[in-house]
Symmetry: D2
Subunit: 319 residues, 4 copies
């Protein structure tokens, strides 16, 4: 830690600073400049990253999160796909079949929906979870779905293979601890104003509760730009891979808010080092109950998967 | 709603758009330009604000929230003050006595603390609530304190007069609904990346659950600027007063992160129309367990209250 | 300067760092932690602020900029008012008479207009400057007007009493140096993404060219919020007053973009320590060639001046 | 254009709005809702993009900018590389040889440097331009270099093949017009707070002055995130390609500020559709007079070019 003292400060004040530092168990070093005086405090903690379990310093090799035989963070890029909201049994079934056929490895879909307005569709809740579980049975695809609140963690965990923590809950520390105690893999989405350091400290809450199976997800941050719904921050991918051993996936659907930006940003994400993607697919985006404008039709998703394969191979990965 | 069609679109496609709009129960109006065609959809909803109960359109006169005989949103500016975290019985007592003597009307203090790091001090929890209740008994000041999670809403409500929802929980919709059902006054803090519209929609969750006693609190948003911890957005005060009837208070302590900016920004807040302030006061800011750098010493708080009075009077309010 | 070395770095590498630091003329201090090693470099420069002439450290007492007997930065709050664009002789005359009668001390008006689109009205240019000079003759009010480019600095300086550098030119360093060489007072507007440090370094360009007459102007920064055109950052007022001796004025018209937010934010600015205001006034805002929505009608300006006076007095200033 | 009238507005006021719209030469359409009234104004202009010459609506096929036989915006990805600042003849020569050998097609280097501080190195100016011209002669690589001010446009144009407008001059409209009149290709860098629409309107200034040879360059925007120097906004690539026919290149060096993020973001840029890259290479980054931390050593640049090739091919491009 570095303490910069005001110019013209007296010796008594400097002594007082040093005394306090010593009381805290550290060794102060005084550096007197021509105009200012600095006290440096020898301390291991502030030099290391404030996150420990999430850090590359603690675990230099990358982590892999395994779910039903699929590894996230390994050599293969893992694509998770499905509708924003689960709307009906037929819808989930149709999408699940389509994304599986196209090569997706995990089925996504929201049963509990966090909505900005209290008057908007809030999800099918447990019925939606059942449709997802049926689709898993049918296709063999593991299911990732959001859990909104501590009260429903157990319920969601009965049906889901991966528990998703949404962007709005990134600093809901009680919920983070609870999913940490569950042990099931967690997909943790960065909040819209979450710094990289805060993101990793939120992951640390889950890890510190005993659950090492955390997947980080970049999904767009809030900036001044309005042509995109959020600003998908692909820089976060190499930054997170440098600071942490945890796998990183990217959500170009929420991150951009426009279906025609999903394919280019998905390719960009893979090229810059993402371990996976999470993509919204809907049979009739115009009639979706949420986030239609950013959803791909199944045919567009097939095309995207075809285009992604050579990009993955170009960076030494498979799809 | 306005639908702008791509240039060169054919009549069949325009008809299809109109048919779909009609099916949704609205009356489309087609406007053909030289290059583009627009379809306007006559609909009451999207023209009105998406928030209803929080809106000035629904209730033109300002709301007042009353707690123990104090009115927030009335003629008088209400100052809430106290430590960031409750740390000990003596600390709360000392601060409570001091802020009461200086003219504060409500005691603030955190017993459950949301902390970015899992390794930071998380608050004294129920013991902290007890110290706050003791200080209320001693001073007569009602207590505002944060509730972090649905599980502890009832517990906190036993001790607190106003339930605070912190910035990190602004879109924790389950928690919003729960404090909405409680009926007790709620101090709702804007999140660090929450737009004004989202802020009012979060208030709408509480109002729609049956609780009209919502106080809005501006506490700084996240921008590129780093000389302040956050960018306290005083523009939000007149904007919120224009759009909503709910009372608005300002937190210059969290909003700036520096104790020497608290007094000027507190005066600015009152001058631009705030109904109240929430200010951190600590007997020994250098030794505070959280947010020391932004806390005022009691003597500075006394001085601030003295300086605030003429500003309040200059804008037709009392203190 | 602090150099943090990677964990596990060898002695040879540490020696190499120290050798390089020594070559640069500084004295390195090595601090070995349990996991990491830090080298601190004793150097006066990086500890002080990077701006020198603009700094409070160099000049602790506030500066006053004087123009035609008016002092900006002194005890009195100085209000500058007038139209966004000069549109006609009659318009300038009408506004000049009105703002003078209401108590404004300086006339503002744009003759050279920086416009986002090449197809928008670009100002009356020299003709506009003449109308401003005529209005000065008539009312005695000194004139502040924007200079867009080095080529027209001399021309604008013939007519203007204060040269305004607009937000878009905050890092047009050639223009900053040129107005620095002129000696005339300069109103320097913060750019929409300019940090406080960059702002003061831009002022430093003018000061270092020999011109001490710099007035800083906060006019709104770009954030995610869209209910205001920009986010007027009133925090900048006390921050700038703390770091620098230069006078600070606030532009609530551009800063908010809405005429009905101008009065509350103007009062907020004065209460938090601004030395002046710059406000747009137009006889027919609905027909203004630029920025009509943020302009006050003369009658509203009269009312604002009346409301500002007690606020100024409440913070120990006059108007 | 859509005009939404306040609830409860009278017929006289509605008539007045319509009269004014008619006077402006447009046809108003009134839509009365249950609570509100909307007037839509049939007008070609506001429906189309405000930029015309830059727009895909005006020119659906992509533009190519040609310089010395190289096409930017064609099938091949074009890499521009070189030092941030020209520092010496030897430095430019060494870098030019190295980047040419590695496959770069254009040499970059700054002779006139825009520096935040007036006390920082401001570039070698004309001497630097001469070193660049020598390096072109030696290697055959065309040169791109920044022009800071209208006064030196002719001088820089004597030496440069592409004139670069830096981020700080994105709304220096006089300079934009001047390089528009020159006709030489222009590399236009997005400012750090420039919206996509403003970016294209700045390009429009150059195009409207008669110069069709504009290359757009994304180089990072300012956000709250501090682990990167700026937030390189790769979303801008597909958004610009959708709205405009102009070629788009990406600067991952300035955009991230860290050399170890350059390679992943360069690959991401190519994968999401960029037509080219501009990359800083320095023989001794630790001793660079500017931007050392973000510069690649020649050996790292060779490696990057090797890794980029398969990514370019994966998206149907060559390198």
């Amino acid at each position: 830690m570095i303490i910069i003292l005001k110019s013209g400060i007296g010796d008594a004040a400097i002594d007082d600073v040093c005394r306090r530092v010593t009381e805290m168990g550290y060794a102060p070093h005084i550096i007197r400049g021509e105009f200012k005086t600095i006290v440096t405090v020898e301390s291991v903690m502030p030099v290391q990253q404030p996150f420990k379990l999430a850090s590359r310093e603690v675990r230099p090799e990358p982590s892999e999160v395994r779910v039903n035989g699929i590894s996230i963070g390994g050599q293969a890029i893992v694509v998770m796909a499905g509708p924003c909201s689960v709307e009906s049994e037929a819808q989930v079934r149709e999408v699940a079949d389509a994304v599986k056929a196209a090569g997706a490895k995990i089925l996504r879909g929201g049963a509990f929906k966090p909505r900005t307005s209290p008057y908007a569709f809030q999800g099918l809740k447990e019925q939606g979870l059942k449709y997802l579980a049926d689709a898993r049975k049918r296709t063999g695809l593991p299911v990732v779905t959001e859990v909104l609140e501590t009260e429903s963690v157990e319920l969601v965990a009965q049906y889901a293979d991966i528990l998703q923590i949404g962007a709005r809950n990134i600093q809901n520390f009680t919920l983070l601890r609870r999913v940490g105690e569950m042990g099931k893999p967690v997909l943790l989405k960065r909040g819209m104003a979450t710094s990289i350091q805060e993101f990793l400290l939120s992951a640390e809450y889950i890890l510190a509760a005993g659950n090492p199976n955390v997947i980080l997800c970049e999904r767009g941050i809030r900036t001044f730009e309005t042509t995109t719904r959020f600003t998908l921050d692909l820089n976060a991918v190499p930054v997170l891979k440098k600071l942490s051993h945890l796998p990183v996936v990217v959500d170009p659907s929420h991150g951009t808010g426009h279906w025609d930006l999903v394919a280019p940003m998905a390719k960009g994400a893979v090229a810059c080092g993402a371990d996976g993607l999470i993509i919204e697919v809907h049979p009739n985006p115009e009639e979706a109950l949420s986030d239609g404008p950013q959803s791909l039709k199944p045919s567009k998703f097939v095309q995207l998967m075809r285009e992604l394969r050579p990009v993955a191979e170009a960076v030494g990965r498979s799809l």
